[in-house]
Amino acid sequence: MAIIEAWYRLVSIFPFSWTHYNFMNNALLAVLLVTPLFALLGTMVVSNRMVFFTDVLGHSALTGIAIGVLLGFHDPTLPMIILAVVLAVSINLLKNITKASMDTVLGVLFAFVVALGIVILSRQGGFVKYTSYLIGDILAVTPKQIGWFFLLAVVVLVYWHIAGNAMIITSINSSLARSRRVNTFLIETSFTVLLAIVVIVSIRLVGILIINSLLVLPAASSRNFARSMHSYTLGAVIISIFSGITGLIVSYYWGTASGATIVLFASGCYGIAALLGKRLIK
């Protein structure tokens, strides 16, 4: 992997002790790819009030892993993705036909996927094996995984380029969007599928417990001062990358879990943005 070697050489220019460790350099590269990706997706998650929805998707990983274990998969990523995608598409279908409150429906699904996953994984007291999924481990990221993140980043960018405007108009009013010949169902479905894949693939990095924060916090922070979609997106991306790099490096010195440290910095950004932006309280 010539690209990875070049990256190691580039990072070694910096006079920090952590640049001597390839796992830190890998993690830094993963952070640089994943954080802007999450920021971009997060802008639409926050705009469309899908925060709880993505939390359900993230937690469905528990059941996804469990299904993988039952079926004898060595790496449960595939069943995790399939379950999350099926869940995302069904919730989206249900949203269009149900009269029930989606808040309640999501609450029920959340409970179900978490409980089912834990029940299966905890047979004979074996749950401890899977706790790494709960908090994640960026430092264990491999160059091959980084390649996948690069591919995902390209897919999301292309999708954003093609469907960005349609998503914005759909988020404002779906009838208005349809009157402009936007296929709102296709837009919503494709977005949720993309979201499910990105969230699940990234769970190894930050963990089930806090993956949603990484999605929500940068966009929520940016929303406090943004005055256009452009500044909203840009603000979220900058805050996300900043929290990612700062959190990763600080976690090295503190000896703490990187994912949680990153989220802690993102929360700090939200606090500052909310105070300065003055939009949180009327």
Partner: protein, 260 residues
């Protein structure tokens, strides 16, 4: 002035069901180009459903035919101004974003180019909204938002314009400006307009024909005649007459009717 001789929207025996209930029952409606038809009716009368059916969002029985000059029964361009929008007031979407995302394919999250921004400004200026360009949509008054939405609905120029409750959340001054712009548009561009409202007093001088809808068409004709109809007065009751004189008051229909 564009002339168009034979285009029209024809709705025959339209029935829309939601479960076992017929929301619209055997509705017949004919709108010629250049004509403004007002649709009034009590809560749950199926006014918004009628518009959504014309937009092609609801399964229905009956026939909806569009005839456009030159091309028979092709699907027309429909401009639609939704009922008062419900969105997060802290939304970062600016007026430029809203218009640009509707009229252009250039992805606006990456920034709005100068050309596009100029075009948006030009369009908005036609609707007395050129000065709103940089505002966030949460900072607009009801009337300002209606004009921005009307600007979007008119770009590109539609053959049929659907207006859903333009009176809700708009003050008297804003409303008469809105009606004047609509009146101008149909005179200049010869488009057909269907206007759903319960602002009875305000619209009578702007609409050519008034339809009282309550699941089916109860009365239809010259606005003054329909308004003097006893059935109509009975259907609406005195309270709504009062509300039409005080558009700043929120009527229950603003909250409820959105889902029908």
């Amino acid at each position: 002035m564009k002339t168009c001789e034979h285009c029209c929207t024809k709705i025959d025996n339209l029935t829309v069901r939601f479960g076992d209930n017929a929301i619209l029952d055997n509705v017949n409606l004919h709108v010629d180009c250049g004509e403004v038809v007002g649709v009034v009716g009590p809560n749950g009368a199926g006014k918004t459903t009628l518009l959504r059916t014309i937009l092609g969002e609801m399964p229905y029985q009956g026939k909806i035919t569009f005839r456009i000059a030159g091309s028979a029964s092709k699907k027309p361009k429909i401009g639609y101004v939704p009922q008062k929008l419900q969105f997060d007031l802290s939304s970062p979407i600016s007026v430029t974003d809203l218009v640009a995302s509707a009229i252009s394919r250039h992805p606006i999250w990456a920034g709005v180019s100068k050309d596009l921004s100029e075009r948006v400004k030009e369009i908005l200026s036609l609707f007395s909204a050129g000065h709103l360009l940089k505002r966030r949509i949460g900072e607009l008054s009801g009337g300002e938002l209606q004009r921005v939405l009307l600007a979007i609905a008119m770009t590109p120029e539609p053959e049929l314009l659907l207006l859903d409750e333009p009176s809700s959340g708009v003050d008297i001054k804003g409303l008469s400006l809105f009606y004047q712009i609509v009146d101008d548009l149909r005179k200049k561009h010869d488009i057909a307009v269907i206007l759903v409202t319960h602002d009875l007093a305000g619209i009578s001088s702007y609409v050519d024909r008034l339809i009282l809808l309550n699941c089916s068409v109860i009365a239809e004709g010259d606005p003054k005649e329909v308004l003097s109809n006893e059935k109509l007065v009975k259907a609406f009751g005195p309270t709504l007459w009062n509300i039409s004189c005080l558009p700043s008051l929120k009527s229950p229909e603003d909250d409820k009717n959105g889902n029908h």
